[in-house]
């Protein structure tokens, strides 16, 4: 057995970790209590098998690529970072990228990840045309919107619970450059932030970084980053069409003592971050795609700054109507606690595509908390606000929500469960997350 955890390093549990080398070996590896694992960037317990975890990053081959249309067939373990480095210079990028590029294609499909463009372009699954799925029942099927469509829509956002994605065919976005034309807007409070995001609806990319240490009349003050792909004529003279992507340089070598992160250091950091960003506000400028999309990737193993006990991310989405009041209430409680995240992220989402996809039209707020003290109780209270507002939590970030919260947030769950059952009548595919939230016990 091996100790396995997600990116948040909570919980840490025993699971047998297997690295199959062929699709046949994947089939043999899947026994009762298994789930696939991509690059382990889900925060909680989604990518940990109840008994056995099947690592997929060894499957990193591209099968075919059409340089005219950008259609690509690849194995599910290919990382988005690899796709960007390989096809970016050839003029193609993934349509949707999350806040880290170190996720696998399989993990991105299973979580139907959203990027800064979800409000206008949808999630990762929208650009996937078909998948090769090894079901819990032991069959290998091709699934698309037309063929085995139930399996397709249950797998997009299905957190690995329909089976193991072996391959996918998807579309890449043609781009002229690897640069982003960015505009920063500073918002002095939550109302201004939400207005700025609404006004940014027509921007391809938009996201707000909230200073969640700010309170009172500053509550919700933030920096809104809007972005568009830069055309060839818009990049600086002498800059290459595609910027070089650096490997994470600085690594956090050890777990920092949890003392390092306290209400003072967090407040100071937020203050500094806000001021530095506010100075950049106003006119547009062009930045490399790497810092624009993946600000945290430049520090390897940054999850260690939260100390050995790990941390929790709480990401909810609140439907548009009534969102202002609930978000204000959550932010106020977080600010009053004082030990919240370095940074909170607020952005708008559109309709999700998969049956269990997280996004719904509204605002999503993501917060980090170190695991300590009464944090679990505190988050349960926040969950009650989310549920009352008709919202839900993101499974890729979750390690602790209750069954009741989950069931209230995902009304399509029954349909998902029926499809899951038909693909896997014996209940072979089980993760720690599915044991916690889905499976009858």
């Amino acid at each position: 057995m091996t100790l396995v955890s997600g990116w948040g390093r909570f919980p840490v549990v025993d699971s047998e970790l297997l690295r199959p080398r062929s699709f046949e070996a994947v089939g043999e590896a899947v026994v009762t209590g298994s789930v696939a694992r991509g690059n382990g960037r889900a925060y909680g317990d989604a990518a940990i098998g109840a008994i056995r975890t099947v690592a997929m990053t060894g499957f990193d081959r591209v099968r075919s690529f059409d340089p005219v249309t950008g259609r690509i067939r690849l194995e599910a373990g290919v990382l988005l970072s690899d796709l960007i480095d390989t096809f970016g210079p050839r003029g193609f990028l993934p349509f949707v990228v999350p806040g880290t590029r170190f996720v696998s294609v399989g993990g991105a499909i299973a979580a139907d990840v959203h990027g800064k463009n979800h409000h206008c372009e949808g999630g990762f699954g929208r650009y996937v045309d078909s998948i090769l799925l090894r079901t819990g029942q032991g069959e290998t099927i091709e699934a698309s919107r037309e063929q085995n469509s139930d399996a397709f829509f249950a797998t997009v956002g299905g957190m690995g619970l329909t089976g193991v994605i072996l391959e996918a065919t998807m579309r890449l976005r043609p781009v002229e450059t690897g640069w982003i034309r960015e505009r920063v807007i500073s918002a002095s409070d939550l109302d201004a932030a939400m207005r700025a995001l609404d006004a940014g609806d027509s921007a391809t990319y938009s996201v707000a970084w909230i200073d969640c240490a700010a309170r009172g009349s500053d509550l919700g003050r933030s920096l809104i980053y809007l972005g568009e792909h830069a055309r060839t004529g818009e990049i600086a003279d002498g800059a290459g069409a595609f910027p070089a992507g650096k490997n994470p340089g600085l690594a956090v070598p050890v777990d920092l003592p949890s003392m390092t992160l306290n209400r003072y250091s967090i407040r100071a950091f937020n203050e500094l971050y806000y001021r530095m960003g506010a100075r950049r506000a106003g006119g547009g400028h062009v930045v490399s795609l790497y810092p624009y999309f993946f600000p945290l990737d430049s520090i390897a193993d940054w999850n260690r700054i939260y100390g050995r006990r790990g941390f929790l991310q709480h990401q909810c989405v609140i439907p548009e109507l009534g969102a202002r009041a609930v978000l204000g209430e959550i932010l106020d409680r977080v600010a009053r606690r004082g030990d919240a995240s370095f940074l909170a992220v607020l952005k708008k989402l559109g309709q999700g595509d998969g049956i269990l996809s997280f996004p719904l039209p509204g605002y999503t707020l993501a917060l980090d908390f170190p695991v300590k003290g009464d944090i679990l109780n505190f988050l349960d209270e926040i969950d009650r606000l989310v549920v009352a507002a008709g919202g839900r939590l993101y499974l890729a970030k979750d390690a602790r929500q209750s069954r009741a919260t989950f069931e209230a947030g995902y009304p399509a769950l029954r349909r998902f469960n029926a499809i899951r059952k038909s693909l896997d009548p014996a209940g072979t595919i089980r993760s720690k997350l599915s044991q916690r939230l889905f499976d009858e016990v």
């Binding site: 081959r61 591209v62 390989t86 096809f87």
Partner: protein, 246 residues
């Protein structure tokens, strides 16, 4: 005809072989992958073509079948610019201590076969007056250890072969690179206890090989830390070394 450079990878299905092939293809080389099971290499060939838009060929090659070597080399449509041998077999030391057949296979896979095939390429390269030869040896060849001296001694032989070949061939415009990767996370080392800070991933080795070829480096340890570790291990007096357990 293109004027692109070309590389052939012997042992193309290994993790380091795949990584090296990717590094060279990414740098614009046409690549040939050689291995026992050509069908198993087809997905890797497709991967390289799709990613880098280069020509990729497949060749059957068995390092134990030395009789086939002459035919293998003369059968190549064109002599490549770079030949890279990644072939090797770790084997099981304990079995090799009593099973002569197993010991022989380890010795032949790590020393005899790789040396003979690279020697043949060297003759062709020297006749042409150019070319680069890369042999992936091992830090295990720097000093025999109780826990893997059958493998280590074969790698030692291979390292010595490469250094002698380098001395001779350099006068004829042919460069020889010896690669000592240290611990690499691959199929070969799966399940073994590797020392984290001394362990690298296969792509790091692939990039290091390309870099050594382009910069004409003679011997690379991939992770610089290994040079120091092996310096210490090599200079320990035998009386001390034999008492150490590792």
């Amino acid at each position: 005809m293109t004027s692109r450079k070309s590389a052939i990878v012997l042992g193309g299905s290994s993790d380091i072989g795949r990584a090296a092939a990717r590094a060279f293809a990414k740098a614009g080389y046409d690549v040939a992958l050689a291995g026992r099971d050509v069908a198993a290499l087809e997905p890797d060939a497709a991967d390289l073509r799709a990613r880098y838009n280069v020509e990729v060929g497949l060749r059957t090659f068995d390092v134990l079948d030395t009789a086939s070597f002459e035919g293998f080399v003369s059968g190549l449509a064109a002599l490549p610019d770079v030949v890279i041998s990644i072939v090797g077999l770790l084997g099981v030391q304990q079995n090799a201590e009593s099973d002569l057949a197993h010991a022989t296979t380890i010795m032949r896979s790590n020393y005899e076969g790789p040396s003979l095939i690279l020697g043949l390429f060297a003759e062709k390269f020297l006749a042409r007056g150019s070319g680069t030869i890369v042999g992936v040896s091992s830090v295990a060849g720097d000093r025999g250890r109780a826990s893997n001296y059958v493998y280590g001694s074969a790698k030692a032989g291979f390292s010595a072969f490469l250094s002698g070949l380098r001395a001779r061939a350099s006068r004829g415009g042919v460069h020889v690179v010896t690669v000592k990767p240290g611990f690499v996370r691959t199929k070969m080392t799966e399940g073994m206890k590797l020392i984290g800070p001394l362990t690298v991933e296969a792509p790091v080795v692939g990039d290091a090989i390309l870099n050594a070829v382009e910069k004409k480096t003679d011997v690379i340890y991939v992770s610089g830390k290994w040079r120091l570790v092996m310096l210490i291990i090599k200079t320990l007096p035998e009386a001390v070394f034999k008492k150490l357990k590792f």
